[in-house]
Symmetry: C2
Subunit: 213 residues, 2 copies
């Protein structure tokens, strides 16, 4: 066996990812996971120790898969900050809401909203660098802003992206089925980029906060 691509541990992680993503850690059962993986019930404890460590492996694999499939681009010095921001938004959106093999995004969103103790470090360490990248971009776009404003602005941009993952069930029921079907990643990324860039440019042109009209 050993190097088979469908070795038992592989199949179990695959099945575990899907079921953990769909039901959460508590509601998912080892029996269902092993049934879908066509493995014996004892396989989880034999290969992973216990259910929790299997969960951790599934989360790691989910994050790793997303990172590989949608890497953050490396920008040369000639790339404008506005283009970088557009790339950042598109990549983030793809990672969270890409339809193919959707369980990875689902599992990651679960960990972001309620991080398991075991996965807290992983989640933090994988997100912090992206947050730093976004802050560097914002430092270029709104150099007059202090750190607090940059952080809040970063959250405003990330929040727009993650909303389509976190609030997806609600969004489905607020717009028509036809409109929802047109919510492709590129369209959403374009809107978020436009919406945010308009705000950032106005902020860059006029240092004062806008007075209420």
């Amino acid at each position: 066996m050993s190097t088979e691509t469908d070795a038992t541990p592989q199949r179990i992680i695959e099945a575990a990812g899907e079921i953990f993503a769909a039901k959460g850690f508590e509601a998912a059962t080892v029996r269902e996971i092993c049934t879908r993986a066509e493995a014996n019930i004892a396989a989880v404890n034999y290969h992973f120790g216990d259910k929790q460590r299997l969960y951790i492996e599934a989360v790691k694999r989910a994050h790793h898969g997303r990172e590989l499939l949608f890497p953050m681009p490396e920008w040369g010095p000639e790339v404008t900050a506005e283009t970088k921001l557009a790339d950042f938004i598109l990549t983030l959106l793809k990672r969270m809401t890409s339809p193919d093999s959707g369980w990875e995004g689902e599992l990651m969103s679960r960990e972001i909203a309620r991080p398991t103790e075991a996965c807290a470090e992983l989640a933090r360490e994988s997100i912090r660098p992206h947050f730093a990248v976004l802050n560097e971009i914002l430092a270029e776009l709104i150099p007059a802003a202090d750190q607090l404003e940059r952080h809040l602005t970063a959250f405003s941009i990330v929040g727009q992206c993650l909303h389509y993952k976190f609030a997806d069930p609600v969004i489905r029921q607020l717009v028509s089925a036809e409109e929802y079907a047109g919510y492709h990643v590129e369209l959403l990324a374009q809107h978020i980029t436009d919406f945010s860039l308009r705000s950032l440019r106005a902020r860059a042109d006029n240092h004062k906060p806008p007075a209420r009209r």
Copy 2:
């Protein structure tokens, strides 16, 4: 007994709300709820039928409590659309992230992210009217936008607000403790309002999407 404010069903709902919010439906146990409520284990089934109906009652109560505590203001005809938007953002933020009696917001955010079949209708029917209000405000602010753009813009605004609830564990680890301590509702609402209004004004002044610089 009868009209006591701390009658058994009341105490059970109270305890259930806290524990459901902290652990989710599956992980919360009837025994822990009854222990905290200082009630017998059979009390849940006697007063509510089963665990699921208790959960539904807790969610209803959570939403009702938020609606009462932070009602959406009724605006007269003289109120500008920009002020309405500011009020809307502040109210939404208060409902989701108000620190006092925090379990209600937590429980609602759980239902938004993964609505239970039983609560799907409630969640939808309670959110739809607010979505309609926001769309009316946006119709005043960016009259040239079509329905799709209005919807996406609404999601951009709501997404910024809900981010502080959904991604709260991550946010805590991205900024310093001192900065996080300063994230009061009013500050966040002010930032989101400023950020969004800048974008909306630019959109209103110039109908074309911004070219990438």
